[in-house]
């Protein structure tokens, strides 16, 4: 390019400064272009950032997900289980599983020593060996309490980690273990109410409500203590007991022995986990006799004035029915019950007949499993055909096997003016009224209760007679069937009672499986074994239940017990 201002300047010749200016100009142009390019790129990048920031800020509604929220969403919380007064029977506590990250461990021996100092059940040598051998994460101990966690935390070990978990606990130990059941390591119900009402317990847990039972913890404890005492005293292989409010069908206490520790169900023997009171069925023997009398009176087959000859055994082909304590001559219906005559009860049953007998057994709920929310219900064993010998034996409680709960429910029907109420162990709501079934008339029920009171004041149940609570009941001593034959040396001794007889409200049953001799005569019948246990139990629970004692006359049983005491002393 040639500088030629106005056509008069440099022309044709090259201005030496012009090249320099041109180069400078071109360089400036070049730099400015780069600056513009960089500015454009930066502006573009900022625009993109601004756009993305605006989008995230204005249009993204997703909240910041925190670990707390994540853990909250995955929680499966089981509801507390409480007794009728709100006392905790099963709860949930947060525990911590202690892990160690092996690659972070500097000195396994030192770590094992320090941890075993605060967690003595973690063996120092064993832990050290595991820490040296393992790779990745090592589970040191499950189920640390918050206090234990704090103790480990205070050691200041950077290689340990805590994983939070929820654990079902039964703070009362063995109390009501069979009814409550237990859960597995994943927190799923595996027995008792925990299994039967698993979904309901989980649903209530979401609303922080508790599952309220009808059990009274104090009654439950008294019942379990009596079962434990009786089995120890008479060396029984098992026992079960029920206390029921006859006016509502609510179970106030229900227990089986032997028992187990639901906090560690893995340590229990299968035998201990059997809910004998609900799941097992037994031939109850003479505790059935009040029903035979009740059905005959209610159906008008006989009256209390009728008398029956019980001096000779009843024979059916090759089988015969005897009395343990035979009475010569005729006995009234009341005496048959008071003296617990098998022959008399069998003859009354034959008078009643199979159709009426079955109808009333059905009405008392003895032909079906007694319903209870805990599940695993004992299905009664019934005769295949109702021949005369069957009718006769069922009349005194043989040839038919029912659960202790079913028998208590039937006694509760007598106590409730002849109206049977389906038992429950979960507190009812107004929307869930009890199902009722008329069994016998109120007059019949009252009459039979009166006879049962005489059994306790004058008959085989005298050792159950305790001051003030007007116990009415019936003993039952049934021989067990071993290899298809009744074994005279192995008994099921039971005592079923209602109290107070003047205004019956509560039904109680205690059953001992194979009690050994209760006195020097070698007698292990219910009169010696189960009856006194029921008497003691009623003395303990009546004040808890608010039953006012009637102290007009000393109990007849007490006189007998005093006589026995004197004789022993003499």
């Amino acid at each position: 390019m040639v500088y030629n201002p106005g056509g008069e300047g440099w022309s044709g010749a090259r201005d030496p400064l012009a090249d320099e200016r041109d180069r400078s100009f071109q360089k400036r142009e070049q730099i400015q272009g780069r600056i513009r390019l960089m500015s454009g790129l930066c502006a573009g990048a900022f625009l993109m950032l601004a756009g993305r920031a605006s989008f995230v800020s204005l249009f993204s509604d997703k909240p910041a997900a925190s670990p707390v929220e994540k853990s909250a969403g995955s929680e499966t919380h089981r509801a507390d289980i409480v007794d009728r007064n709100g006392e905790l029977l099963a709860g949930v506590v947060t525990t911590y599983d202690l892990y160690a990250n092996v690659k972070d461990i500097w000195n396994p021996d030192d770590m094992a020593r320090r941890i075993s100092a605060v967690l003595p059940d973690v063996g120092e040598a064993r832990l050290a060996a595991r820490l040296k051998r393992a790779r990745g994460y090592v589970l040191i101990r499950r189920g640390l309490t918050p206090r234990q966690k704090q103790a480990v935390f205070s050691l200041g070990l950077p290689e340990v980690e805590f994983v939070e978990s929820e654990r079902r606990i039964y703070p009362r130990g063995t109390l009501a273990a069979h009814i409550l059941g237990f859960v597995d390591a994943d927190g799923a119900g595996k027995a008792g109410l925990e299994r039967a009402l698993n979904e309901r317990v989980l649903a209530l847990g979401k609303t922080s409500e508790a599952l309220r039972l009808t059990i009274d913890m104090r009654v439950q404890y008294a019942l379990e203590a009596e079962l434990s005492q009786a089995t120890a005293e008479f060396q029984a292989i098992g026992a079960s007991g029920v206390v029921m409010d006859a006016s509502s069908g609510e179970v106030l206490g229900i227990a089986s022995w032997p028992t187990f520790y639901p906090n560690a169900p893995g340590d229990a023997r299968p035998e201990s986990m059997r809910n004998r009171a609900v799941a097992d069925v037994y031939e109850m023997g003479s505790t059935f006799k009040p029903f035979t009398v009740a059905m005959g009176l209610d159906a008008g087959q006989f009256t209390l004035a009728n008398a029956i000859d019980t001096s000779r055994p009843l024979t059916f082909g090759g089988q015969s029915i005897h009395d343990v304590h035979p009475v010569n001559g005729r006995q009234s219906v009341a005496e048959i019950l008071i003296h617990s005559s098998n022959i008399g009860a069998a003859q009354l049953a034959l008078d009643i007949g199979d159709v009426t007998q079955r109808r009333y057994l059905q009405a008392f709920g003895l032909l079906d499993p007694a319903p209870l929310q805990s599940g695993d219900l004992g299905r009664p064993l019934l005769p295949k055909d109702w021949k005369p010998v069957t009718i006769a034996t069922v009349g005194f409680g043989h040839g038919i096997a029912v659960s202790p709960l079913a028998l208590t429910t039937a006694y509760a029907a007598l106590a409730n003016g002849g109206l049977r109420i389906a038992p429950t162990i979960v507190a009812r709501t107004p929307e869930d009224p009890p199902r009722t079934y008329p069994a016998v008339s109120p007059e019949t029920a009252r009459t039979v209760i009166g006879l049962m009171r005489e059994v306790v004041t004058e008959g085989t149940g005298r050792r159950a007679d305790v001051m003030g609570y007007e116990v009415a009941g019936k003993t039952g001593s049934a021989e067990k069937v071993i290899a298809g034959v009744y074994d005279k040396t192995k008994l099921l001794s039971s005592f079923a009672a209602v109290f107070p007889a003047s205004e019956p409200r509560y039904a109680v049953l205690i059953l001992l499986d194979e009690p050994k001799a209760g006195n020097k005569d070698g007698d292990a019948t219910a009169a010696i074994t189960a009856a006194p246990s029921v008497g003691r139990l009623i003395t303990r629970i009546a004040p808890i239940l608010g039953v006012a004692p009637v102290l007009d006359a000393p109990p007849a049983g007490m006189a007998i017990q005093n006589e026995e005491a004197k004789r022993r002393a003499g």
């Binding site: 605006s54 800020s57 909240p63 709860g91 506590v93 947060t94 703070p171 001051m467 609570y469 004040p543």
Partner: protein, 127 residues
């Protein structure tokens, strides 16, 4: 159409555009409004996020408090085991279960000629 086409032609030809005195003002006002709205929305969202965090924190505290209560309740239930209370009542308070003869109705108490508070108070105590 013709006029505007002519004006466009003029613009393309390099003639100075017609003056629009209010245009810059409107653009500025619009920009300010957009900025104010954007800032307000941003603040609202930030506050909502803060509130959400606060709620999460409160829920966490609630959960922890509930856990602590559950643990205490379980501890109380464990300490109030009937067999434990029975042993303590016997060993430290010298108490035993109520006997039927110790129970009186209100009427019987009123009929009593002499009330002996000391005797009544020690009724449930084993000597």
């Amino acid at each position: 159409m013709k006029k505007s086409a002519a004006r466009l032609d003029e613009d393309e030809d390099g003639a100075p555009p017609a003056r629009r005195p209010w245009r810059g003002l409107w653009v500025s006002i619009g920009a300010i409004i957009v900025v104010v709205l954007a800032v307000s929305l941003y603040r609202a969202k930030t506050e909502a996020q803060e509130t959400r965090k606060h709620i999460t924190q409160l829920e966490k505290e609630l959960r922890e408090t509930r856990r602590a209560i559950s643990a205490r309740e379980a501890e109380i239930a464990f300490l109030e085991r009937p067999e434990r209370l029975r042993e303590i009542a016997r060993a430290r308070l010298n108490l035993s279960p109520v006997q039927t003869g110790q129970l009186k109705s209100i009427d019987e108490l009123q009929e009593s000629p002499e009330r002996k508070p000391d005797a009544a108070a020690s009724g449930a105590v084993e000597n």
